[in-house]
């Protein structure tokens, strides 16, 4: 791996880390708004800003450093108790976290410099913070880089070094300083003064008694030589004098003191601007920013203003710079893994290797021993798989807590008072799922705030607390993760939904529907009951999109509502997208897998006339689907057929199959693009004997069954 790759990797790491920090910052601020006295929270928030500034400096991300510095300063005053947390302060700081987050995303995409609109945003936001600054928040001091390229004439210096007696104890070895000097210039002579050495019996071997006079010829300015001894200056006597009367050189050297110049790299390399000119321009930039208390003017502007380069050159440099950074924007996706989990996996693999060797053919080993060894391998494979899958599991809490901000902003916008309670944040689910569920959840949350929870006045009228409550809850249930979005609002209006559905021709007038069926209508495409379309929801993309997204993740969604009391929307998702517990069935030569969590029971198909597609299950009518017929599988049905009873969203249907082959865990392989329109099949898997089994999509099977047309259209796959 080249150094460049290393740095790129480090930058990716920084982006991941920075995202976490910003989120921590935001969460902390929201917490502070609720409990302004939280000392630990103040510390945490300050630390987040502080760390962010520190690491962004490491990558030379000046815009980020400078912006974060001001935020940090404000938070610093809060920490010192000079500033109280007020809603106004939090409201001023929250957009700043958004801005920081935008800058980080920009960096993730390879834009290491802010664009004009970001700069404008930054300036505006900082202006918003200015009332909270006691004038002391100058943008972060620029970081000086040693080693000037445009070298001024070399000068000779004499260095008188009298190290303090404690310097060895402090870890400061005089010899290493002398060695370092030769990296910035040429040491032409060293005179060691040992006159301070006491007699042997009085000598403390841990103390330093030596002094040195060093002749140094260097192009480095005096300040840089001085900086070499920064760490020992306190208890040593360091004198640096020009060896001859080289005052001119001295003055020149002072002028040549470099400042950091990452921004102008392109310009400098191209030769359009010298390093010194750049340094000067940076100084002006800093000075102006300090004076006006704003984000610095872009360096290019200053160079142009000072008549150093033409605008064309700056523009060309900017586009070139952008082009070089664009190439690195392919986003490598990373995930943080608890080290303990990785260790466990490695342990298991180790055990597996041992177990494997014991299954090897050894003469004289009984079948019993070998069976035992094989059992062990199987157990380990199972555990390895389990542990490997758990690597992708992340707690859902982080995603849920993101909604604190949404709830705050949206409820403010709507003028409602809403508090958010989050429970079950520890529940873990597949990282890929977490990412894909957050948009649907966002929609549900907004919907609840917008349509569910009533305005304060209305709530009072109904004898409810003025403040509405939105509850996000997550828990594991039978191999699934369930996420609930619950509000204590007005609940769904059955009549209005039905009226609307009839108006939209989703149901025929006069159809008798159960409550659940009526409420499920809100998930139908093209359904929206909100009488006035607000800014937040009711823009056409509605609950149907939510449902589609959830279904695409092999999940289901249900709604539970009581008029006047509230609504709970429950999303049920598999823990992972990669593996399901399946139930293998055979129809003729084909095998199918029914997701096990959908299977309720299996019974034998009672004999009866062939044409009838329903049976009597303990006194209830159970419709069933003959898979042989549905998929057009040739051949005669088995003499004794079985019915697998599946259930989804409260609807039960039987699947008629030839044989029941048992439970198994299967790795899902998605069907190719070619089969993306095939109904009733959600994927495939490869069985132990190398054959392919198709995974049935119970949802569409049941839905298709209630609508004969679809059943007939089902694509034959036998």
């Amino acid at each position: 791996m080249s150094l460049d790759d290393d740095m790129r990797e480090a930058l990716d790491m920084f982006v991941t880390e920075a995202r976490d920090l910003v989120q921590g910052l935001e969460e902390g601020l929201l917490e502070l708004e609720d409990q302004p006295a939280g000392g630990e929270t103040v510390n945490a928030v300050f630390r987040a800003a502080h760390t962010l500034k520190g690491s962004s400096g490491l990558f030379g991300l000046r815009h980020l450093v400078e912006f974060t510095h001001v935020v940090e300063t404000v938070l610093g005053s809060v920490r010192e108790g000079q500033l109280d947390v007020t809603p106004g302060l939090v409201s001023a700081l929250l957009p700043c976290t958004d801005h920081i987050s935008a800058m980080i995303e920009g960096i993730a995409e390879g834009r290491l410099e802010p664009d004009a609109s970001q700069l404008a945003d930054g300036t505006r936001l900082l202006a918003g913070l200015s009332p909270y600054l006691d004038g002391g928040a100058a943008p972060a001091a620029s970081v000086a880089t040693p080693g000037a390229e445009a070298a001024p004439a070399e000068a000779a210096w004499r260095l008188g070094l009298r190290f303090g007696p404690d310097c060895l104890r402090n870890g400061m070895d005089p010899l290493s300083f002398l060695r370092y000097l030769s990296t910035i210039g040429t040491v032409t002579g060293v005179v060691t003064d040992a006159s301070g050495l006491p007699d042997a019996e009085e000598m403390d071997p841990e103390s330093c008694y030596l002094s040195f006079d060093v002749d140094l010829v260097t192009a480095a300015p005096k300040a840089e030589i001085e900086a070499v001894f920064d760490f020992v200056r306190e208890d040593s006597d360091i004198r640096i004098t020009p060896s001859e009367s080289q005052l001119d050189a001295y003055v020149r050297a002072i002028r040549a003191m470099p400042e950091n110049d990452r921004i102008g790299d392109v310009l400098v390399t191209s030769g359009a601007v010298t390093e010194m000119e750049m340094a000067e321009a940076l100084r002006v930039q800093q000075e102006r920013a300090v004076r006006e208390g704003t984000q610095p003017v872009p360096i290019g502007e200053i160079l142009i203003e000072q008549g150093i380069v033409q605008r064309d050159i700056v523009d060309a440099a900017l586009t070139r710079q952008r082009r070089t950074t664009e190439t690195r924007s392919q986003d490598t996706r990373t995930i943080r893994i608890d080290a303990a989990r990785l260790d466990k996996l490695i342990d298991l693999v180790g055990e597996l290797v041992i177990a494997q060797s014991s299954t090897g053919v050894t003469p004289g080993v009984s079948a019993e021993t070998s069976n035992e060894a094989q059992g062990e391998v199987m157990r380990l494979v199972d555990e390895v798989r389990h542990s490997a899958l758990s690597l992708r599991m992340v707690p859902i809490g982080t995603t849920l807590r993101r909604f604190e901000r949404v709830v705050r902003d949206v409820s403010m916008e709507l003028g409602k008072e809403v508090s958010l309670t989050i429970t079950g944040g520890d529940a873990e689910m597949d990282k890929a799922l977490v990412e894909r569920i957050s948009d649907p959840l966002l929609h549900l949350v907004r919907n609840s705030l917008d349509h569910g929870i009533e305005p304060a006045a209305e709530r009072r009228k109904h004898g409810k607390t003025q403040q509405g409550t939105l509850r996000l809850n997550a828990y594991h249930d039978a191999g699934n993760i369930v996420i609930e979005v619950a509000d204590d609002g007005c609940g769904l209006d059955r009549d209005r939904i039905l009226g609307k559905a009839i108006e939209r021709e989703l149901v025929a007038p006069g159809t008798a529907l159960t409550d659940a069926e009526v409420y499920n209508l809100i998930f139908e495409p093209g359904f929206s009951t909100a009488e006035k379309v607000s800014n937040l929801s009711g823009r056409g993309v509605g609950m149907d999109v939510v449902k589609r997204n959830v279904t695409a993740l092999r999940g289901s969604i249900e709604v539970e509502t009581t008029r006047g009391i509230g609504t709970t929307i429950r999303i049920r998702l598999p823990l992972t997208l990669a593996i399901i517990d399946g139930f293998l069935v055979g129809v003729g030569p084909s095998s199918f897998i029914v997701p096990l969590d959908r299977v309720t029971e299996c019974v034998e198909l009672p004999p009866g006339p062939l044409g009838r597609d329903c049976m009597n299950l303990r006194g209830e009518v159970l419709p069933f689907i003959r898979l042989r017929q549905l998929f057009g599988i040739p051949g005669e049905p088995a003499r004794r057929q079985n019915v697998v009873i599946v259930e989804q969203s409260g609807q039960r249907t039987g699947l008629v199959v030839d044989s029941l082959l048992g439970e198994l865990q299967t790795v899902i392989k998605p069907l190719g693009v070619l089969f993306s329109r095939v109904r009733c099949i959600s994927g495939s898997t490869i069985l132990g004997n190398g054959e392919i089994a198709l995974i049935l999509d119970v949802g569409t099977l049941i839905a298709g069954h209630s609508d004969r047309e679809h059943t007939r259209q089902a694509v034959a796959v036998g």
Binding site: D6, S56, A140, V143, T145, N170, G171, S176, Y180
Partner: protein, 122 residues
């Protein structure tokens, strides 16, 4: 043999960048996430220089430095503290604890390299 440097910082990207810079200059590098982790790593190997952040979870940098200085093997080990301009008091505390050198955050990798090479040659 190359000199070994221990980097203690809770930020993975800081550890990474500093490691790259130091390894590039020919040092051996060990990293630790916080003071506690770092203390555990002190024993059993020879470390020639320690770079430590101040603000860290579990055990902060100043406590760590004070603990490290109590160990006979680290009596003479130079320690570089990562401080910020707003932390003059922390810098003083760190110096009192035994960390006489410092690098001010935000810093560039080159600055770290120059600070390190003042104290220990690769």
């Amino acid at each position: 043999m190359a000199k070994t440097i221990l980097i203690v910082d809770d930020s993975a990207s800081v550890r990474q960048v500093v490691s790259i810079a130091l390894k590039g200059a020919g040092y051996e590098v060990i990293t630790a996430n916080d003071g506690k982790d770092a203390l555990a790593k002190l024993s059993g190997q020879r470390i020639h220089l320690i770079i430590s952040d101040v603000n860290m979870p579990n055990m902060d940098g100043i406590t760590f430095v004070a603990e490290a200085k109590k160990l006979p093997a680290y009596k003479f080990t130079p320690i570089i503290m990562l401080t910020t301009e707003s932390q003059e008091d922390k810098k003083k505390q760190a110096q009192a604890a035994g960390a006489k050198a410092w690098v001010t955050k935000p810093f560039q990798p080159e600055q770290m390299l120059s600070a390190v090479s003042k104290l220990v040659a690769p």
